[in-house]
């Protein structure tokens, strides 16, 4: 039973010249295997900071609180150790790694996360099938990682990695942003395929409710001002679609 537990998490980010600024101010969240959680909130509420802090980006400093995965102290782990422990972050803006082919990148990642190199024949088949599922051209595997990718290609590539790496906890940072309807449908199908295995806890971070029509969360959390200010089931997403974040922004500002 994989469980990610976040308790009273405070996170600061280093700013240019102005010293550290606190972004997260006491976040509590529990994600269990097989569950799907959505974190929603206005821009600047701290959603992306939460995802980076869980993955361990060096720019974000945890000043207080804890993150554990099945009881193990995630904050004591390096970025790569967290990945090998089963944490996966699908990035909103994945960077280019020029000259490194997607196929090389995927196989190196799978080798690192699985602890041994996947058997070549099975691996080639697995990659082929998963790319087919995500409606990606096979030639894609020979391109440089994120080099000249369109927004949609970047997101499909992130989901491809998630499907191949089979994480315990998958964090999807604004995966729906910048996608047209077709791409959104394909990417959502990928997320649902991973959910349906029941082996992964999913944390969807999103500004819009659009993706929630395709990927239905059991739990919805509203974030504002660096805290979770409201929680509910999928009906909360419907309410947000109608009324927006206005009332939470006031609450967040007053906190």
């Amino acid at each position: 039973m994989s469980t990610l537990e976040i308790r009273n998490l405070h996170v600061s980010v280093e700013t240019d010249g102005e010293g550290p600024r606190e972004i997260l101010r006491g976040v509590n969240l529990t994600v269990r295997k097989g569950e799907t959680h959505a974190i929603m909130g206005p821009n600047g509420s701290g959603k992306s900071t939460l995802s980076y802090a869980i993955a361990g980006h060096p720019k974000y400093t945890v000043t207080e609180g804890s993150i554990t995965l099945d009881g193990a102290d995630v904050l004591a782990m390096g970025v790569d150790t967290r990945a090998r422990a089963g944490i996966f972050l699908a990035m909103q803006y994945p960077v280019e790694v020029p000259g490194v082919s997607v196929s090389n990148f995927l196989r190196t990642s799978a080798t690192a996360v699985r602890g041994e190199a996947p058997k070549l024949r099975l691996w080639v088949k697995e990659v082929k099938e998963t790319m087919g599922f995500l409606e990606m051209d096979q030639a894609f595997a020979e391109r440089g990682v994120n080099e000249g990718f369109s927004g949609g290609e970047k997101k499909r590539h992130e989901i491809l990695q998630m499907m191949l790496l089979k994480p315990k906890i998958a964090i999807l940072d604004e995966t729906d942003s910048g996608l047209d309807v077709d791409a959104l449908r394909v990417v959502s199908a990928g997320i649902n395929a991973v959910r349906e295995t029941g082996e992964t806890g999913t944390l969807l971070i999103t500004h819009y409710t659009r993706i929630l029509r395709y990927v239905q969360p059991e739990f919805v959390h509203v974030m504002a001002g660096g805290k979770i200010v409201d929680e509910g089931g999928s009906e909360l997403a419907a309410t947000l679609e109608e009324s927006g974040y206005d009332k939470y922004v006031k609450v967040g500002a007053g906190a």
Binding site: P58, T61, G78, D80, T81, A83, V97, V113, V145
Partner: protein, 471 residues
Amino acid sequence: MTTTSAETALEGLGSYRFGWADADAYAADVERGLSEAVVRGISAKKSEPSWMTDLRLKGLKLFERKPMPTWGADLSGIHFDNIKYFVRSTEKQAESWDDLPQDIKDTYDKLGIPEAEKQRLIAGVAAQYESEVVYHKIREDLEEQGVIFLDTDTGLREHPEIFKEYFGSVIPVGDNKFAALNTAVWSGGSFIYVPPGVHVEIPLQAYFRINTENMGQFERTLIIVDEGAYVHYVEGCTAPVYSSDSLHSAVVEIVVKKNARCRYTTIQNWSNNVYNLVTKRAACQEGGTMEWIDGNIGSKVTMKYPAVWLLGEHARGEVLSIAFAGEGQHQDAGAKMVHAAPRTSSQIISKSVARGGGRTSYRGLVQIHEGAHQSKSTVRCDALLVDTISRSDTYPYVDVREDDASIGHEASVSKVGEDQLFYLMSRGMAEDEAMAMIVRGFVEPIARELPMEYALELNRLIELQMEGAVG
């Protein structure tokens, strides 16, 4: 956060992993320092014709007269009086692998040559141990085609008429101080002649290695590719660690005749105290193509600018170069393209990686002479800095005397970004593995031009350099 800085990740680049050294045992040893007697002695030992002795002495005079270069890297650490100018390791060339002395065989086992032989990837091995080629083999099919592939000493003995015509014709004796020095004391190197129309299908390879403290290595290579012929010559070297400075000053002359093509690939990995000052130049006639692929990984200082003189219409020159500079290293490398005929074209692609306070410089010259109408040249140089204490400079010189020339120049300097490292590490890769992947990706456009086993060796060297830095 346990992510360490980029500097620590790359500390491995400073340690030299192939740093073994066999016991010194020389059949013929000579004193340190340079004089007319030393030069005459080298020539006499080799029983050279008098014109070569005279040329050597002329080289000595010009070497003494010419000042040290005042540009480029710092050469003040070279002490010419403390260098052995000729060392002979065995008296006689070996006919086959079995004839080689055991310690020399051990050395080549470490370099992996027998494996390469077994795989029949190489056409002939000119293995240079010390100053003289001791092991040399040419496949029968090459001989049947009339291809000559010898060490330069033997080449001079057996083909004096070719040497008289071409030796020093591309790089004159007084071209520069180090070319003059090489002319005075040269020993070893490769001599290749490819007859008209012959395509040598497999790359010809030579492995080089120097093994004596303070021993200069002055090999001299002469390649003539006759009309419509093709050859790919590959040269690689790994050297042991020395306790004091060592000088390597080679001269490579190439003649590419009408519609011929020559590709010359070098990966050098000298130990970190070697001054590597090499003059490489090709003269390319009508419709000919010269390609230099040049990798500089080791050495303390490298100054090397492979050049192509485009002497006939539609001649084409290309330089692909890659340089790594670690702590205490300066790689001053680049290319020179001289367009002396109409409709000639050239391309320079240079990539460099600096870490640990190392320094890379790109120094290039593109000249379009008067009358070289409609010539084209493109230059692209990219530098990658792995930390904030390393340095990269670009010195592109362009001299154009025709209005209808087309010249392109692009340069970039980039840093290994925190976000790139984070991305790869968030996929489970350790920091040194992630760094090696970024560096490998950066040099990939050049690595893919290398013969397969060299590309693998380059990748392995990059991995070794990134390894074991994260505690």
